[in-house]
């Protein structure tokens, strides 16, 4: 059963066409991440799904109902905002229960759901406090709690981790993943961070300029990117694109090799000079300027004592490399 279905959704602000013919489905219980650079329309798409913006054309179906003309509160969704957006004058408990009160739920149901959610998120001792008396991570949990108590058909997350520091971000990411497993609810998550996308998603939707570039599971997109944009966007450090340094490429073609698929090899095809070394302990990243003047990144596992200025030869497994044509689309290898 589908939780959400978008058919040819368009959105324009005046003359600016922000979303272009977006069609996709979210299955029940699926965790879908919208990812793309800033300004690609991912947040707008989320707001259209939430009903905070009206779609200019196309249909939006949540569960079994077409919701184009339904106000946000009646769409069966709940949303977690980047800035938490807690009501500053209400206690944590009232923040969580306001939506249910508006729905006209009986008090016993409200109390039960709030206590269940606060137990799940370890917020019990903070229930009487105001948002101003909480830390950033706690506020974000309250915001998530406010979404959980409504028991929505669809959770919407709008870059919920962007305001947290790195350590907390990692923890909260794990918590959100655990939450998804516990509730087995359908979730849509917007982020510009490809690591969040790779780690959380069942299905990633890569957006660029208001268009869907590719949809698929994280490993699918990593192993089989449809074009140069998707290949470059996912994976960190990002993929190297070479035009001149590798022999045997037709004019206009580009070869894409992920940094982890390059290796130091005496008989390697690419030769260049190391311009910078990043030693991370577990990995070593080399920045290499090839003899043809292209810059590429090499990711070596473990520790390596190559120094800046060293002249090296790099090799790669051709099966791990991708070829892209002039218009940046992938050239699929001929069936061997």
């Amino acid at each position: 059963m589908t939780a959400l279905k978008l058919e040819n959704v368009n959105k324009s602000f005046g003359p600016v066409h922000v979303l272009k013919d977006i069609s996709l489905t979210v299955e029940k219980g699926e965790f879908v991440v919208f990812v793309g650079p800033s300004g690609c329309g991912k947040s707008t798409l989320l707001r259209v799904i939430a009903g905070l913006e009206d779609a200019s054309s196309g249909t939006i179906t949540i569960g079994d109902d077409v919701v184009n003309a339904v106000p946000p509160a009646k769409r069966g969704i709940a949303m977690v905002f980047q800035s938490y957006a807690l009501y500053p004058h209400l206690s944590v408990k009232d923040n969580m229960s306001l939506g249910l009160k508006q729905e006209g739920q009986p008090k016993s149901v409200i109390a039960e759901r709030v206590s269940k959610a606060s137990k799940m998120l370890e917020l019990e001792q903070y229930l009487p406090r105001r948002p101003a008396e909480l830390s950033g991570g706690q506020r974000q949990r309250v915001a998530i709690g406010r979404a959980i108590v409504r028991e929505p058909k669809l959770f919407l997350f709008d870059e919920p981790l962007s305001n947290l520091d790195a350590a907390l971000r990692m923890n909260t990411r794990v918590e959100i993943a655990a939450l998804h497993r516990t509730l087995s609810a359908s979730m849509i998550y917007v982020t510009h961070d490809q690591i969040e996308a790779m780690t959380l998603a069942d299905k990633i939707v890569v957006l660029r300029d208001g268009r869907v570039e590719q949809v698929g599971s994280p490993m699918d997109l990593y192993n089989n990117p449809a074009n140069r944009f998707v290949a470059g966007f996912l994976g960190s450090p990002s993929m190297n694109f070479l035009e001149r340094s590798v022999p045997g490429l037709a004019a206009g073609q580009t070869l894409g090799i992920r940094p982890e698929h390059l290796a130091l090899r005496a008989d390697g095809q690419i030769s260049g000079e190391v311009t910078h070394v990043e030693r991370l302990g577990g990995d070593t990243n080399l920045l290499v300027s090839t003899d043809q003047g292209e810059i590429l990144t090499v990711r070596l596992f473990g520790q390596n004592d190559t120094d800046v200025g060293a002249h090296i030869q790099l090799g790669f497994d051709p099966e791990m490399a991708f070829r892209f044509d002039q218009s940046d689309n992938r050239i699929l290898p001929l069936a061997a």
Partner: protein, 279 residues
């Protein structure tokens, strides 16, 4: 060390400036207050002396209580000020919210149009206003004054408040929408509490000119039963003889309510500022 000394020096200088300004600002009020308790002769003999056993007199206050219908004037001023302020804040905030929150055609134009009144003094239109009030039968009513003051206060209120409303987080309003709050509830329960400092500013800006105004009460509502306090005090000022005791006493009493209102609003102002800073 050096730093601390310089800081304390700066603090002293800042306080000296502020105290000096306070003295200058409060001096006329002080003179009015002390002279209201003196005999007429003492007022003219030594205007700056404090009342002593010899010169002390309540004659001014007695005159005011006896002669003018002081409490009625007082009540009229209160009604006009408070109702006008309420209307300015209510309509000003609503208009400001609409301008800040909703996208509609002519939004900017409407904002400019509403702010135009800041630059054009309403008194220019006095004759037209009087004609309008006469033909609508509102001359000599408090309603006439309330309408004029509301019109006079709205432009600045819309201008100031819309700037503040734009600063209220969109996410917060959207969270309210998703939780099923109506636009009115979002406005009254989420947005207004957050712009309370700005509301207090607007209230203070508008309150004092309305309370002190002589022009419109004199022209639109000079009848005895709708006189405001400022206009009522004028009965003691004659072309040839002025009852200074009564004038000073009336003015002293007129200061009180406006001061109380000011204290209420400025509390809001301070509370708003600190609550923002602590967050």
């Amino acid at each position: 060390m050096n730093m601390t000394r310089r800081t304390s020096g700066t603090t002293i200088a800042a306080h000296a400036v502020l105290i000096g300004y306070t003295l200058i600002a409060l001096f006329p009020v002080f003179v009015i207050l002390i002279n209201s308790f003196k005999t007429r002769k003492a007022i003219f003999r030594e205007p700056l002396a404090l009342p002593d056993a010899d010169s002390f007199s309540m004659i001014g206050y007695e005159t005011v209580m006896k002669q003018g219908d002081f409490f009625l004037y007082f009540q009229n001023s209160m009604i006009v000020t408070i109702v006008s302020l309420t209307l300015i804040l209510l309509f000003g905030a609503m208009a400001a919210y609409a301008l800040a929150e909703y996208r509609f055609k002519g939004n900017t134009l409407m904002g400019l149009y509403l702010a135009l009144g800041i630059m054009i003094p309403i008194r220019i239109g006095t004759v037209a206003i009087l004609e309008m009030m006469v033909s609508s039968g509102l001359v000599n009513t408090l309603t006439a004054l309330i309408l004029v003051y509301t019109a006079q206060g709205l432009p600045l209120a819309v201008f100031i408040l819309s700037t503040f409303m734009k600063g209220v987080s969109d996410d917060l309003k959207n969270a309210g929408r998703i939780d099923g709050l109506s636009e009115y509830k979002i406005f009254f329960r989420l947005v207004l509490p957050l712009v309370r400092p700005a509301m207090a500013t607007v209230a203070v800006f508008n309150m004092i000119p309305i309370w002190n105004d002589l022009w419109f009460p004199l022209i639109l509502a000079p009848a005895e039963e709708v006189k405001t306090l400022t206009l009522g005090s004028q009965v003691f000022i004659g072309q040839f003889v002025t009852d200074w005791n009564a004038v000073l006493s009336a003015l002293s009493m007129a200061i009180l309510p406006v001061m109380i209102l000011y204290v209420i609003f400025s509390r809001q102002l301070i509370r708003g500022i600190t609550s923002g800073a602590v967050k």
